[in-house]
C-alpha cells in the first residue's frame, strides 16, 4: 500500500483513512482538442462528491485524470496532501469502480479482490483477512469462488466495489457504476452505496449523468458542462438556487419551465412581465443588486405551479402524464406552456379549464443574454 494510507483497519467494519483531493488549474488535451481547461476543485476528506453533467462534459475525463489513467497537459493534482500529478495509478491510494465492472474474467471473485493486494506483496494472512472483511461487508461470501461470468449484473458490480474497497484506499472513484443496471437494481445499489459511505466515511468521487443518483448520494454536487464547472454546492443549493440556466434546466424532471420576458420597476418592487403573464417579484432574493428593465428568463419548477380552485390564474389542461405517485400536467396559459406536478388525486382531463398559482418566493431569474442567475 502507498504511504498515504498508513492506518490499518482494526474494527470489523473497515475504516479507511479518508484523503482529500485538490485539483489546481487542470488542463487536459486529446490531440488539439482541449477537453478540460483551468479547472479547480477541492474534495474534502470523507465527502461524497458527485460530478454531474451531460455526456461529453468532461466529468469522466476529470475522474480518470485523478486516477492517473489520463495524462495531464497542465496543472496539479493532490491526493491526501501529496502531489500525485505524475504518480502511477497504483501509487495514488485510490480504488476505482467502472461502469462495465471490468472484473478479471479468468479469476474467481476472491482472486479478483486480492489481485491488487498480491501485486503489492502483502502477507497472505493480511490479504485473506481483508478479503474476508470486505466480502462480509458486501455480502459476497457465497460468491467468492465463482467466476465473473457466473454472476448477475448487480453481483458483478458489488464485486467490483469490493475489489476497490479491499485496497483500503484514501479515495474511492466511481465512474457511472450503476448505469449498466436495470432500474430496480440501480436504486437498491444506490441505497447500499449511501449506507456504505456513511459506514466507512471514506472520500468518494462519483461520476454520473443521472440526476437522481446525484441528488440522493452527494454531499456536494459539481455540475459540469463542456469541460467547465458550472456550479458546486449541496444538492439542495444546486436544485433550489441554480447559478445559471444550464444548471436549472439540467436538474429536475420534468425540467424547469422557462419564460422569456422583461423586468420592470413598479412602486411596490420589481415585476416580471411577459405577454399574458406578469409575476410580482418583491419576495425574490436577487443575487446582486436588483436590476431594472432588462430582458430576462423566469424559471419556475413544475412543483411550484400549484393547481387548485384558489389559484389566481387560469389555464387549459393540454396533457396529463400519470406517474403513479404523482401526475405531470401540461398547462396552456396564454402563449405559454407550463408543466405542473400534482401530488393529490385530482382528476384532470384534456381541455379542462383549471386555476393555478405560482410560488413566487421560489422562482429563479436569469439574464437572457448571459444566462446567469440574477
Amino acid at each position: 500500500m502507498s504511504a498515504s494510507n498508513p492506518v490499518e483497519w482494526t474494527a470489523l467494519a473497515p475504516v479507511a483513512a479518508a484523503a482529500g483531493v485538490a485539483v489546481r488549474d487542470l488542463a487536459i488535451r486529446f490531440g488539439a482538442n482541449e477537453v478540460i481547461r483551468g479547472l479547480n476543485l477541492d474534495v474534502a476528506e470523507g465527502e461524497f462528491l458527485v460530478l454531474l453533467g451531460p455526456s461529453g462534459c468532461g466529468k469522466s475525463t476529470l475522474l480518470h485524470s485523478i486516477a492517473g489513467l489520463i495524462d495531464v497537459a497542465a496543472g496539479r493534482i493532490e491526493i491526501g496532501g501529496r502531489d500525485m500529478t505524475e504518480a502511477d495509478p497504483s501509487e495514488r491510494g485510490i480504488g476505482m469502480v467502472f461502469q462495465n465492472y471490468a472484473l478479471y474474467p479468468t479469476m474467481t471473485v476472491e482472486r479478483n479482490m486480492s489481485f491488487g493486494l498480491r501485486v503489492a506483496g502483502l502477507p497472505r494472512a493480511e490479504i485473506e483477512a481483508r478479503v474476508k472483511r470486505t466480502a462480509a461487508l458486501l455480502q459476497l461470501q457465497p460468491l467468492l469462488q465463482r467466476k465473473p461470468a457466473q454472476l448477475s449484473g448487480g453481483q458483478r458490480q458489488r464485486v467490483a466495489i469490493g475489489r476497490a474497497l479491499v485496497r483500503e484506499a484514501g479515495v474511492f472513484l466511481f465512474d457511472e457504476p450503476l448505469s449498466n443496471l436495470d432500474a430496480k437494481l440501480r436504486s437498491e445499489l444506490r441505497r447500499e452505496l449511501k449506507l456504505l459511505h456513511q459506514r466507512l466515511g471514506s472520500t468518494m468521487v462519483y461520476v454520473t449523468h443521472d440526476q437522481v443518483e446525484a441528488m440522493t448520494l452527494a454531499t456536494r454536487i459539481v455540475v459540469m458542462r463542456a469541460g467547465l464547472i458550472q456550479q458546486v454546492g449541496t444538492p439542495h443549493e444546486v436544485y433550489e438556487r441554480p447559478c445559471n440556466r444550464f444548471v436549472a434546466g439540467f436538474l429536475g424532471a420534468p425540467g424547469m419551465n422557462f419564460i422569456n420576458g422583461r423586468l420592470s420597476m413598479l412602486s411596490g418592487g420589481t415585476v416580471f412581465d411577459a405577454p399574458g403573464l406578469s409575476v410580482d417579484l418583491h419576495a425574490y432574493a436577487f443575487a446582486g443588486r436588483a436590476p431594472t428593465d432588462q430582458p430576462v428568463v423566469l424559471g419556475i419548477r413544475p412543483e411550484h405551479v400549484q393547481i387548485g380552485p384558489a389559484g389566481e390564474r387560469e389555464a387549459t389542461v393540454q396533457l396529463v402524464e400519470p406517474m403513479g405517485a404523482h401526475q405531470v400536467v401540461w398547462l396552456s396559459h396564454g402563449p405559454h406552456t407550463l408543466a405542473a406536478v400534482v401530488h393529490d388525486a385530482q382528476v384532470l382531463s384534456m381541455g379542462q379549464s383549471v386555476r393555478f398559482s405560482i410560488d413566487r418566493s421560489r422562482v429563479s431569474l436569469f439574464d437572457l443574454a448571459s444566462e446567469q442567475r440574477l
Binding site: 480518470h64 486516477a67 492517473g68 489513467l69 502511477d88 495509478p89 497504483s90 485510490i94 480504488g95 476505482m96 467502472f98 461502469q99 462495465n100 471490468a102 472484473l103 478479471y104 474474467p105 479468468t106 489481485f115 491488487g116 501485486v119 503489492a120 475489489r163 485496497r167 465512474d175
Partner: protein, 284 residues
C-alpha cells in the same frame, strides 16, 4: 413437394458431388499406397487393393531414397518438428506481446509501426529471399536451425501481431485500467491477465503457425541447410529421385505421411478454429 425442399435437395446434391470430387484424389492416394507395384501396373486406378500390405508405408517412412541417402521421410519429419515447435511458440509469444503493447500501452509511433508491419504482410516472400539470405548469412545463422526459425518468426510477425492486436482491441479498456490501479505493470498484466484471456486466439494462432510452417517449402529449402531440411523438401526429393522404376505406392505413402500433421491439427482443433474465428467476429 414444396419448392423450399427442392432447393434443399439441390444443395445437398451439389455438396455431395463436391465432397466426392475433393475426396477422390485422397482415395486414390490411400488405395495406391496399399497396393504392390505389380497391382498398380494393372492400371485400375479406383480398384481396392487385392492384397492389403503396408510395405510401401514402411519404405516411405524409413527406406526411401532422397538422392544418395536412403533414410525415408522420417528424417524430414523430425527436422520439421524441430522447426515447427520453436516457430510456433516464439511467434505466438512475440505476436501476443506486440498486440498487447500496441492495444493497451500505445507507445509513441505505435500506429506508424503497425502500418509498416502490415505493409510487410503484403510484400511477396520471394522478393525478400535474396536480401534475407544476405542478412541471415551476415549474422552467421544461414543454413542452421536457428536461422530457419528466425526467418519463420520474421515472416509470421505481421499476421500474429494483427491477430492479437485486434483481439485485445475488443477487450474493454477499463479492464486494463483496473489492473493498472491494482498496481499491475507491463509484464504482470500481460502474463496474469491478458494471456489467460486469450485462449481462443492462442489456439487459432497455433493452428495457423503449425500448418503454415509445416507446409512451407521455399523457406525451408533456402534457409534450413542440408541437415535440417523439412519434411516437405524431403518429400520432394523422394518423389524426384528415380532409380529404375517410379514407386507410385511409396510416393503416395510418403505424401500422406507428410500431410498427416496439418490434417491432424485440423481434425483435432476444427471446433476451436471455428470458435476462435466466431468469437473474434462477435466481439470485433
Amino acid at each position: 413437394m414444396k419448392p423450399r425442399h427442392v432447393g434443399r435437395i439441390g444443395v445437398y446434391t451439389f455438396l455431395a458431388f463436391a465432397a466426392l470430387f475433393f475426396l477422390a484424389p485422397l482415395y486414390i492416394m490411400v488405395v495406391t499406397s496399399l497396393k504392390s507395384m505389380d497391382e498398380i501396373r494393372l492400371g485400375q486406378l479406383f480398384a481396392l487393393p487385392q492384397h492389403f500390405n503396408l510395405d510401401a508405408w514402411r519404405t516411405a517412412w524409413s527406406e526411401a531414397c532422397t538422392g544418395v541417402d536412403c533414410g525415408g521421410v522420417r528424417v524430414g519429419f523430425w527436422n520439421s518438428v524441430a522447426i515447427v515447435v520453436p516457430s510456433t511458440v516464439l511467434p505466438i509469444g512475440i505476436g501476443a506481446l506486440n498486440g498487447y503493447a500496441l492495444s493497451f500501452w500505445k507507445p509513441r509511433g505505435a500506429d506508424a509501426l503497425f502500418a509498416v508491419l502490415m505493409l510487410g504482410a503484403f510484400i511477396p516472400v520471394q522478393v525478400m529471399i535474396y536480401p534475407l539470405v544476405k542478412v541471415v548469412a551476415a549474422i552467421g545463422l544461414f543454413s542452421s536451425l536457428p536461422g530457419i526459425v528466425l526467418v519463420h518468426i520474421v515472416f509470421s510477425m505481421p499476421v500474429m501481431t494483427l491477430l492479437f492486436r485486434n483481439y485485445y482491441a475488443a477487450v474493454p479498456a477499463e479492464l486494463f485500467k483496473a489492473a493498472r490501479i491494482d498496481g499491475g505493470g507491463f509484464w504482470r498484466i500481460f502474463v496474469q491477465l491478458m494471456l489467460p484471456m486469450s485462449t481462443p486466439m492462442l489456439i487459432v494462432a497455433a493452428i495457423m503457425q503449425i500448418t503454415g510452417v509445416w507446409n512451407d517449402y521455399v523457406l525451408g529449402l533456402v534457409f534450413a541447410g542440408r541437415d535440417n531440411l523439412p519434411m516437405t523438401v524431403q518429400l520432394n526429393n523422394v518423389i524426384n529421385t528415380t532409380t529404375g522404376e517410379r514407386l507410385y505406392n511409396v510416393n503416395m505413402a510418403a505424401t500422406i505421411l507428410t500431410s498427416m500433421v496439418p490434417l491432424a491439427v485440423y481434425f483435432v482443433s476444427g471446433r476451436w478454429f471455428v470458435r476462435g474465428i466466431a468469437a473474434g467476429a462477435v466481439k470485433g
